[in-house]
Symmetry: C2
Subunit: 406 residues, 2 copies
């Protein structure tokens, strides 16, 4: 197996403790639904000298980060910033908004929806699942019925289910929560910045995301936008909390820092990344993600493979597809990685041997998607699969169109 | 106020979303007890293209990071890696080892000891404090008595109290815990890698630290070394946990990743930084930190200021000193930052107007300490304080000696 980029970098580290590359490192393109590739401008910001979190330097960056977070979250309120993964920020919502034994309606349509159910159970909540098969999209009517039957005053929603590629109709689901006066906690980890999400206008109470998806920043930061109603609820929620305590977090953030040492370098990188996103505008980002999804679906279909993710413009975050019967998806992914320098994601559970997922959020071009399609064609032929050759890349480029390619 | 390094970098970000420096950014030296300055080799590793946490690339780096973490922790067991601050890793110890109502003896000699007490209370533990005045060091005899009287089976210890500069005699305190068969949870956030700490040989059950102190890595990662006895205790502890759950963490780490998306770029940087630390050896690091402490104390005394941190070689992490009566320490710190490009830390609570703290952990040279001493002399003269001029820098260099300067 050839040395990857990291292998080359670290091959000499072992003996000397120094960092030398062995020749030119092999590039590895990330076409994964997070962590995603990060623009060079953001890596450059990340590598600036470390700043101190109790200093005017940090306060200045943090204020700019807040301004930009409000813009991408489409909210007027400050956004809580945690040094953690997105899972940590979701946990913060649970421990600040719920009490032991309290009922919560947890809508799930894949791995992450199931994770939030397990998490709420771990904290002693009374979880009522509204569970769909993996790959299905939740329906507002089902939600209305489930809210009425359960009497739950809190709802978990997954905007983009990263395990399947399904992006739900969040606006409608939030409208149903509003009808029932139920507090909504939205997992927007892989959706925010990729597809439209109007935190304030749609009345979402809590929106959680991470740095490492459409926000084009390395992993290590997670965010929670919190409505006034959620702040009121937090006053009476009794689950124990300290690292995740929102009230302390808000108090210190108002002074330009965080209660506990934040990932300052990643905050600097985030600020640069959000500047790039907002320079082009969110509408341009949404259009680009939709077009990348179209390109990817066109390529997959031109190869003759079956789509696992939805075959419509909602699937703007990632494209899931199945290998031909008998062709191992894990081996395909390793071949893409080792022979072509392309990292894509796999499937979970029963689908591990057939499903692969191509992420197209963040810093991804249609030419990368086209290259991946060609590599998939080639590798499927190598293992003897009967698939078309040479059609997928042109199909991807054509489907992308020219409007969104500026 | 002149633009700091970040101000210069970001001045153009607002309009264009692009990252251009306005002239040469003003360097800002961090002489803080964390986050600390990071070597250029580590910043370079940090800025490598992002890698995916479920890939052989990450597994390769993570295995090397584990090898090096075991070496700096002086333990044979794998070290748990959390994407959080050190406070998060300490919280992980509480929620994995304790149950509601369980008694814990919390030794405190400053801000961080008090934080762990507040944290344990937030989780419903029965906290018995063994509290010292800020600046005092805990005594093994007191601990023996307190353990006998309280019957507590769990003890919190702070190795280096960052708010005061006191480094306790951890080996002796751990021996007392062993006598009483009490489980120890050690805050080693600012000590690990700076002063001797033998996790296995001294019988520490849990040792917690962060990436951003003596380990010369940006903030964003925290670590917990866990003894076999602590793993057994975790099986019966009933505090709720999910993000911090050690058992899930261990299971996934054994496969070369973490349960939730880790700060992959910071793990790469950590691996490079630990390589640098271990290339010179831990003994060299300890000697350098002791010598830097000696240099700093000699400088402070040459200026004629009162030391707040201990006046002996135990104070190898940071040096605290008091401004002359009537001279505002906050204004002194701002003058150092804005006029001299040197960031030092302040005091807390009652001491905010008099105390300043100079961190000398990680990537710090004696010449930086000498420069800071000169800047302090100059700025104290500016505000009319009657202090010696020109003596501190030579005193610092002389006290450092030559043995450790290689």
């Amino acid at each position: 197996m050839p040395l990857g980029v990291v292998g080359a970098l670290f091959v000499h580290l072992r003996g000397t403790g120094r960092l030398y590359a062995q020749g030119v490192p092999r590039p590895q393109q990330l076409l994964t639904p997070g962590p995603t590739a990060v623009p060079p401008e953001v890596l450059s910001a990340l590598a600036q000298p470390v700043i101190h979190h109790r200093s005017p330097d940090f306060a200045e960056v943090f204020a700019l980060a807040q301004e930009r977070l409000r813009a991408v979250f489409r909210t007027e309120r400050d956004v809580l910033v945690f040094t953690s993964s997105g899972t940590g920020a979701f946990e913060s919502a649970i421990v600040n908004l719920l009490s032991p034994g309290q009922r919560v309606l947890a809508v799930s349509q894949g791995e992450f929806g199931e994770r939030w159910q397990a998490m709420a159970r771990a904290f002693g909540c009374d979880v009522v699942p509204l569970a769909y098969a993996w790959g299905e999209a939740p329906s507002p009517d089902d939600l209305r019925t489930a809210l009425a039957e359960s009497g739950a005053q809190t709802v978990f929603l997954v905007h983009s289910e990263t395990s399947t590629g399904v992006v739900c109709d969040l606006e409608q689901l939030l409208a149903v929560c509003a009808e029932a006066d139920a507090l909504s906690i939205v997992d927007a980890v892989s959706s925010l910045g990729a597809v439209p999400l109007e935190t304030d206008a749609w009345g979402a109470d809590v929106v959680v995301t991470g740095s490492q998806k459409a926000l084009m920043t390395p992993p290590g930061l997670a965010f929670a936008a919190v409505s006034e109603r959620a702040w009121v609820r937090a006053e009476t929620a009794t689950l124990p909390r300290f690292y995740w305590d929102w009230e302390r977090q808000r108090r210190v953030q108002e002074k330009g820092s965080t209660p506990f040492t934040p990932a300052t370098s990643t905050v600097v990188a985030l600020t640069a990344a959000l500047g790039l996103v907002l320079a082009d505008g969110l509408e341009a980002a949404y259009a680009r993600h939709r077009a990348l999804g179209r390109a990817c679906r066109a390529g997959i279909k031109a190869i003759g493979l079956e789509l696992y993710s939805p075959d419509d413009d909602s699937a703007a975050v990632l494209t899931g597809a199945l290998t031909p019967e008998g062709v191992d998806a894990v081996a395909l992914r390793l071949a893409l990685r080792d022979k072509h320098g392309i990292t894509i994601a796999g499937g979970h559970g029963e689908l591990v041997s057939r499903l692969f997922r191509i992420g197209h959020i963040g810093h991804v071009t249609v030419e990368q998607i086209a290259g991946a399609m060609t590599a998939i064609e080639v590798e499927l032929a190598v293992v003897g699969a009967d698939v078309e050759q040479g059609n997928a890349a042109p199909a991807a480029l054509e489907a992308f169109g020219t409007v969104a390619s500026a």
